[in-house]
Amino acid sequence: MTGTSLKAYALTRLALVVPMVWILLTLVFLLMRVAPGNPISAALGGHAAPSVIEAITHRLGYDKPMYVQYGDYLWGVLHGDLGHTITDRRAVSSIIVQNGGATLELTVFASLIALGVGLLVGLLAGRYRDTWLDVGGRLFGIVAYATPVFFLGFLAQLVFGIWLGWLPTSGQDSPLTDAFLRIHTHILIIDAIWDGDPGALGDILKHLILPATTLGIVYAGIFIRLVRVNVIRSLKDDYVEAARARGIRERSVVYHYAFRNALVPVVTVVGLQLALLLGGAILTEETFNWPGIGSTLVTYLADRDYAGVQGIVIVFALVVVIASLVIDFVNAFVDPRIRY
């Protein structure tokens, strides 16, 4: 019974995603064509002769009519071809593979930290409302989120990198590790474990601590506030009162009723916050010279490489959409009411 309705929900949900994705792709396409001139002259203008630019424009198809370009573009995306950058002619898909691992590492660990800290502090703050625990927790959450991630990174580098000298402040690993590490998945942690190299693993983790914690703490701020409000709301719910009327221990009531029910909307919010998290990742990568997709994007922006920018932006948007989908499924799994 549960299985089939979950399946039906999944199909419905997937069907809804398609128009959304199409609109996203179209939006990105339009945005990139807003600038006057063509992408080639923007990227290479001043570095190459006009005739060269014209030749490249023609070869890469930027002089075709707009609707043709649009068609080619959509066709390409459907086949996994996100185009090639103009300045260094890499396939965007290979950029994603090579640099995506770094961003993945960063965001996963940051999310874990954000969720861990956020849930814990939020639960405590909600449960012990109006005590110092609550006040402190909320204040921490507010200040944490108010701190721009790059500033926290700056402070982290200053304190832990320069003044205390405990941790490295840039890059994903030290040059020595980098030279000897064999790349399998481009996710360095996995690669280091694969090779069975504890030294490399340690080095990589040391480099990961500051960026991940910085990003994580800032976003924990959001979770704290959200979890707290939901816990408070849940504790007022009718079924909580009914459970108390049956003499269920307060601790059981709080943990199994209020907390669990408060988490349901939190799961949704994790999906929504992913979008914010990715934005923060871009800033974090810039601050710590982290070689992920974010800093790559910034480079292409600086170089005015529209094709590169377009490709990466599509990836970001698609990641958010897919993540929302996954979150929705998890939600439906957890809460039996949400299955159309």
Partner: protein, 332 residues
Amino acid sequence: MAVAARVPPRARRRGGPWLRRLWSPVGATQGLARVMLVAGFVTTLFFLVIAIFARWIAPYGYTQYEVHGVRFAELTHPSGAHLFGTTVESDDVLSRVIWGAQTELKVVVLSLVLALAVGVPLGLLSGYFGSVLDRGLVLVMDALFAFPPLLLAIVIAFLLGSTVGSGIFTAAFAITVTYVPQYFRVVRNHVISVREEPYVDAARALGARPLTVIRKYVFFNVVQNVPVIATLNAADAILTLAGLGFLGYGIQPTQGAEWGYDVQRGLSDATNGIWWTGVFPGVAIVVLVTGITLLGEGLNETINPVLRRRRFGRILFDPLGSAEALVEEQSL
């Protein structure tokens, strides 16, 4: 999100009773909510004053590197003439922080106004009239919503920068695009639920024209939500602007001081142990955003009935027979 108590609005009179009714929950705040409200308000006001009167408060201009033809020393520690020190280009950090407040104010206010001007009417119309218009707008707004906001802002700022040129307007517009979907969505959802309320139905049954219905009934109810969202958005907008500045988009150094931009410059100074060029602008961001957030949270606690706490008098039972119970006016 805050949900105001839904009351069929009485005829609106300018100021007087209308304003008082809006203000009454604020007067009833107590404890933490009030502290947050006050602290947030004072902080925000402080920065507002600095921002508006920057020209008279700041000791120097934001790109001023000399006075009377004498160049400031580079990278001096905070002291004497330069309370926050100087940058590598001999700019006074204190002045840049003060001028930065003005930049933030300009951009945030502009973007908020634009976002409200676009998002609220669209939300009202879309929610009230429904059908194809609604469906289409929702799809577009949801798509925009799916973008990481900073990413969207960066892209817009980048595009506008290459075409129209950077500046206050570019940065504001980039931020506006990021927030319109949010206002749209909140307003639309609220309109849809209010639309089904009995008193709106009654008005329609009496033959009121759609615009009248919207204006008299829907608008007021919906607008009550906006202050809380607007304050929290202002906080986000500042962070987004700082992010843009950090990456080098939005405001150019010649157009104004921007805190995010300064922190980015401070990054390279940090490796040499020079902290004041980055710390002061960064702290300014933290304090201002915290202040605005406190204001917003304080408002939220006040208006949102789920979170509101009421005061209770203490009850003392008199011995039976006198049929009176004493009470002391004390919060429980």
